[in-house]
Amino acid sequence: MNLNDLSLKQTLEGLKGKKFSSQEVTQDCLTQIEAVEGSIKAFVTVLKDEALKQAKDADEQIAKGEKAALLGIPISMKDNFCTQGVRTTASSKVLDNFIPPYDATVVSKLKKSGIVILGKTNMDAWAHGSSTETSDYGTTKNPWNVSHLPGGSSGGSAASVAASETIASIGSETAGSIRQPAAWCGVVGLKPTYGRVSRYGVVAMASSLDSPGPLTKTVEDAALMLQVLAGQDLYDATTYPKEVPDYSKDLSKSIEGLRIGISDDYFDAITDPDVKLKIEDALKVYEKLGAKIKKIKLLDPKYSIAVYTILQRAEVSSNLARYDGIRYGAERDKLGSEAKRRIMLGTYVLSAGYYDEYYGKAQKVRTVIVENFKQAFQEVDVIICPTSPSTALKVGASADNPMFGEMADMLVEPSSIAGLAGINIPCGFDSKGLPVGLQIVGPQFSESLILNVAFKYEQETQWYKERPSFAKVSEGQAQK
């Protein structure tokens, strides 16, 4: 086992106990990046020299007894977080030469906590997609089998964690972009409540939904990352002025008597029978741990897909209007076909005469979805369902399908529309050896609870110990 295989928690302990240095961990990550990037392509930009220098600085601070929360931990970042002096593309050629003059709030928080930045990870261009296939910098491959997709839009972040190219990563989710790639790559992905983590300096997709969050090897690691990321930010008026709890405190609390809700409509949406079997197995584990499973009636996710499609495209058309090629970036002819498709539909649903028919109506159905969840959370504490209707699809699956993302993300969209907290955790493998993801959804600001519920299952089943091996990566290459 190399240092890059360690969890965040293990790395912190090793650094604290002086078992190894930040430079050694960082070097092992960079070595792994060099070894596997040819087949995985998780990164748009690798910051080799900068990372080693940051690691050296971190080691000096550790020697001085400095105690920042994540001091010396190498991480990767989705390429839509503005990083001062480091190119930030959002995987679109429009921003091919964009060097932000400032850091996103989450980036400055992470820097203050002492992290080392390994590089910027690939994503669907502008986060428009669930495959990384819309990236202008090539498609990222799934480390479990490189002929399959990693999911998206935070596909590079998820793949970099799964392939142990990094200790942890951050991504962003509008509806599914953290949880779905985490599911397809077999890692933990936490989508915090809307407004729990600042959007300032994140290349905007749909501003009423965007939520940055961690992708990690374990649940405990997600709690440690969220601890640094969460909190009110005066630069983002939608961040919520609520105290940030200690997310690691209640991880191992008993879940005896926990009420878990399941909804038939969410299970009917599953397209892959292996996924259903694995989720049912997981529910049995929860019963063994003392939880009570209760059937609830949630709105059919098909309404959420429609609401999401309208709101997201409308907000995209507004957010991408700023790319005029005057202050920074290239002109609008560099926008890819997916971005154009979304801007066009968004412009239409917001245009005079059609606003009420589409955008106005979708905002009302959003209220119905919010109320539906509120009612559900009077009967149950959390809701469990699959994260994705299938395991990772084959490379090429998203081509010429204008609704690909919406279908791949249909089981995460309802909770995103309601601004809820959700987490993906690995719950086994399908017959092809691809990871299956389990989703736990809680009310707004229930991050501590869902982390606790996730941690109990993770400790009982220990799926996190399964990692794709070098052998599997090279086998995948041979298949190609």
């Binding site: 809307y194 005066l234 609008r332 154009k340 245009s351 905002q363 009302k364």
Partner: protein, 98 residues
Amino acid sequence: MSLQLDQIKKIAKLANLPVTDKEAAKLEEELNETLKFVQNLDQVDLKNIEPTYQVTGLFNVMRPDTVATSLTSSQALANAPAKEDGYFKVKAVFKDES
């Protein structure tokens, strides 16, 4: 209701998007497919339902109006494709009528 090609071209103009005839024809097909998909919202009873604009319920968020450092002129202009004398340089907006 479905979108026609002339509407596609009008929307492209509104969105300031360069769209070729070939792209427009493809967009017509794809956008209509998507619009058909979202029609299911008509099945939801929306009588007396208010729209949700802000999902956590925040309203009129204020912060102290204090002076803080911001970007320098050269930082703000660093990514501009064209600049002159400390300004962004843009193409003429009005046609020369002289």
